[in-house]
Symmetry: C2
Subunit: 357 residues, 2 copies
């Protein structure tokens, strides 16, 4: 039988410590050449609306040790509305009942069969959190106790789940521009993670004195600046332009998620795609050669050093997702779902065939 | 609702003339820049068996005019056994009940939603046949009446369905090395297509005097030779090494399926993949620069001339599949399935989500 899982299933089955452990082992395997990742491709075409494009995004990867491969597919109507002065890339929930479409398909590398199909939303957030959590685990000071968080959205919560899973965090200060939103987020997240999250009135208030600064915004402009750096700090970003390039340059140790960074872009000829890298933040980032930075898999495999001295400043940059992450984390979710009898079983024969394709 | 279709559904819903018509229009759209194709990627890793590899093959494409995008996924255990002196690439049906795994997922470009999921086997064969059928339609003589077929396997049948859909074929001679197999094939296909298929004892007997020569083998050595060429012949191949390079070179007009030819290869470092291009036929093919040949979409769109004189020799080379073909043909199958109430309906909510991925 093939399992159909929901986001709720993934949420119930996958804890952040498990997600971190799965990725830690998977990154090590990848560093040792025992896994593959096919980099993301983004295909874009016009739609009937002049303001929207249709985007088909795919990525895949194989984790042989776990016996699993994964294909992730996103099928989106994308627009670029103006929000507070900048163009933001927004996906329209145009599927029936105002829903989005992101799917992960897991296959067995032993039999080829489809093991599970599930939406990508919850896992997407968990694996971003876990990657940054691993950045903290391998780069932040062992005695780090305080976190300054910039952002209070969907990704921000996972960042806190991750950082509290790898360090004994006692104090978290959170800033985002909307006071009400950051207060709601702080209350809810305090409950989820069991560590006090305090909303504060400015970014500087959040990061001042923090051992770990986590940026989890969807901005394309800098939100953390060099002048806020303090000795011993660890900086964590889910999107490179969040950090002023001068801050990255001043760090003693900078590690990037992967070099498999630039997606393949395929568009109909002449199509104008509002560039998500057109913000001021992205322009500034051109000063840095990301291709020469060590990667998270190299860091975890011990092929590049982690933190040196306690007063060093370290920095982890999460840049792009990998299909390989969905194979690794998907394997955990699949095995737990089977063990717990969770998910909807459908006949594997629906998705296999008796003719040689 | 999302439709789950079987190969039998695809077979019942899709006729060869419809498949040809859908691809003809889709290739024209592609030639005019109104569609995208993301070229095939083949990811390969070792398995527990030293003789087998696991292969994850994906391709995708968008046909905006039809409102459909497609992702095709093949998840295979691959071996390279020796068969009659040459290494053949063979996929093992390792999924439960000895089945193979090849899937097509169709999405709406208007809403993003998954429209249908079905195995790729039947459509795979139909779209190969249809592409070669279009080669015949645009290149062979209008008065072509006889076909010489080399091969009597799964693909060979679709080639005959296609050629009889575009020309008034009266006589078909078929050769393949196994006498029993070619006799069985001839009997069965005569019934299917309503034109007499005569098994003959040699390749030369099959092609001598034929207006159209169709090669539909899975060999990696030449099966058709320059010395067999006759004025006015059209040559059709599903795999380039079937034709002796000298035969291709002597043709007055040669058209190739697509320039999007080389798949991305992603393997674990140092993995030895028995090269399917290592046969004698492939080596000889290195004499020809395929990248400079006009493509089928260009031919259909009138951007490159078709046949010139009746005595000219023409040649169509099918090289690699495109995800885009599955979008175009998939759109036809999906619409007919909906109209006829065919297939298994499952809730689209299984494959969509209420969180922004």
């Amino acid at each position: 039988m093939t399992l159909i899982l929901s986001n709720e299933d993934v949420d119930a089955l996958l804890t952040m410590p498990e997600c971190i452990a799965a990725l830690e082992e998977a990154y090590r395997e990848l560093a040792f050449g025992r896994g593959t990742n096919r980099r993301r491709s983004d295909s874009l075409v016009p739609t009937a609306s002049p303001d929207a494009l249709y985007a088909l995004k795919t990525m895949d990867g194989i984790a042989p040790k776990l016996g699993v491969s994964a294909v992730r597919i996103n099928s989106d109507i994308v627009t670029w509305p103006q929000r507070s002065g900048t163009k933001r890339r927004e996906k329209i929930p145009a599927a029936p009942n105002s829903r989005w479409v992101g799917l992960v398909l897991l296959f067995s590398t032993e039999t080829g069969e489809p093991l599970a199909i599930f939406p990508d939303g919850y896992m997407q957030r968990m694996r971003v959190g876990a990657a940054n959590g691993l950045g903290v685990k391998y780069l932040a000071r062992q005695d780090a106790r305080t976190v300054g968080l910039l952002g209070s959205g969907w990704q921000a919560g996972a960042q806190l789940m991750a950082v509290t899973a790898v360090r004994n965090i006692e104090c978290i200060r959170c800033y985002s521009p909307n006071a009400e939103h950051r207060a709601t987020f702080a209350r809810a997240t305090t409950e989820t993670i069991g560590v006090d999250v305090t909303p504060v009135g400015s970014a500087e208030d959040a990061v001042k004195g923090a051992d770990i600064v986590m940026c989890a915004t969807n901005t394309i402009d800098n939100v953390f600046f060099e002048r806020w750096l303090e000795p011993g700090m660890h900086l964590s970003s889910i999107k490179r332009p969040e950090l002023e390039p001068a801050a990255i340059k001043r760090a003693d140790r900078v590690v990037i998620h992967t070099h498999d960074a630039a997606p393949m872009h395929i568009t109909t000829p002449g199509l104008i795609v509002p560039d998500k890298e057109e913000g001021k933040g992205w322009n500034l980032m051109k000063e840095i050669n990301f291709d020469t930075l060590p990667t998270l898999p190299q860091l975890i495999a011990g092929r590049t050093p982690g933190r040196g001295l306690p007063e060093h400043i370290t920095c982890f940059l999460n840049n792009i997702g990998m299909g390989y992450q969905f194979a690794a984390v998907g394997a955990v979710v699949y095995r737990k779902a089977k063990a717990q009898g969770r998910g909807r079983e459908v006949p594997t024969e629906w998705f296999t065939q008796d003719v040689h394709p």
